[in-house]
Amino acid sequence: MRRRFQYKKIIVLAVLVAASVTLMNVTGKPQDGPSFWGSLFLKASKPVSSAYSAIVGRFESLRVAFADKEALIRKNEELEAALGQLRVLESRLQEVEAENERLRDLLGFQENAPGDYLVAEVYGRDPSKWFSSISIAAGTEQGVVPDAAVVCQAGLVGRVLSVGTNVSTVLLLTDPESGVGAVVQRSRDLGVVLGGGGQDSLTARFFSKDADVQVGDLIITSGMGSKFPEGLLIGEVVSVRIPQPGLVKEAIVRPSVDFEHLEEVMVVGR
């Protein structure tokens, strides 16, 4: 009985070994692709493994980020400093380019117009809302004299009101105290151009009510009164009116100069 039981054990063991060998042979065979069960397992586990990889990847990058935080902050600061310097350089470059362009224009004007001109930088404006004047960085040392005409490439700016050693005040055409002898370029009718109407409006008052002046006419300096040279552009007529019957004719003139954006001007030598 005992012997029989031992045989049974041996038989079971042999079956198990045979089954194991068979299984090993089956699974150990080279195949063209994964088995059915393998494929099924791969398909089922793909989302899980993807999510795991993603999470692990995030944690890994976070770990690296925290580990290199100091280095990253330093790098960021360096880059921001470099960017700031580049911005400053870009701004300066643009400023130099604009100045270069303005000076070229002034040079062109200077070459085409007769007389001596002194280029001066505008550095201040009238602190009062009632008057229109600018301060320029040129005075007696540079040869500026009172009442000298001041122009820019666009036309007449005004005249020198007061002169210091290295600074001068220029009364703009738009100032309520300004008055310039003028002439209509087309018809040669004489008049006077007055300020006091704001930065974009002048009033031309003609000596005759029959003056031939039309919208679009150019108004230039007449040269009378000796303060301003003849032929400097003042502006363009935008409207004509006769304020009261029998009185002189008036025209509203848009100045050719943009008084709000003056940066360099030229003082006309005497």
């Binding site: 201040g124 404006r125 009238d126 602190p127 009062s128 809302k129 009632w130 008057f131 309520p176 105290e177 007055l194 006091g196 109407g197 704001g198 930065q199 409006s201 009033t203």
Partner: protein
């Protein structure tokens, strides 16, 4: 003159050149705030009527000297603005912001129209549309916005300065200390 009036005037006179510098550097002359006129209104609001008048005149004179054109035009204008503010204060509730705003608007309007008239009488003619559009309306609007902060600043600084003022009473000396 009591310490309070003296302090207000002293503070206004110290602030005036500063205000003009701020106007010159940081704000456009045309369309920008008229801080000096605002100061004149504050002085009129905080001081006795008869001190407001000369204080406003001196403030205007400072502006005239800085501008260096038509001396006296702004002095008269700001003296009247301060006077008007003092009169309005005596009539309306002095603690109300609306009263201060009304005083600022009225004072600024009076100052601007008086200046315009004086300049015209001296042959310096400013076209009416330009005056209304670019000078008076911006000044009036700015005065409404500025009067609150200006009044607060002048009052606070004057209170601080009043402690330095010599006082005969024991309480005053204690306050000064």
């Amino acid at each position: 003159m009591n310490p309070r009036d003296g302090s207000v005037i002293a503070v206004a006179l110290v602030l005036a050149p500063l205000a003009k510098t701020v106007e010159f550097v940081a704000a456009p002359a045309v369309g920008g705030p008229d801080i000096l006129a605002g100061l004149a209104v504050c002085v009129g609001w905080l001081c006795d009527l008869w001190y407001a008048l000369p204080a406003g005149f001196v403030l205007g004179l400072i502006e005239d000297v800085v501008t260096a054109r038509c001396l006296g035009s702004r002095a008269i204008a700001l003296a009247l603005a301060a006077l008007l503010a003092a009169v309005i204060k005596s009539v309306l509730n002095p603690d109300s912001l609306s009263s201060k705003m009304l005083a600022a608007l009225s004072g600024m309007t009076l100052a601007d129209f008086v200046t315009w008239g004086i300049l015209a009488s001296r042959g310096i003619r400013i076209a009416a549309p330009y005056f209304l559009r670019s000078i008076w309306i911006p000044s009036a609007l700015w005065s409404l916005a500025l009067i609150g902060p200006l009044h607060f600043a002048v009052k606070r600084m004057a209170l601080g300065a009043a402690n330095v003022w010599p006082s005969s009473g024991r309480k005053g000396r204690e306050a000064a200390l």
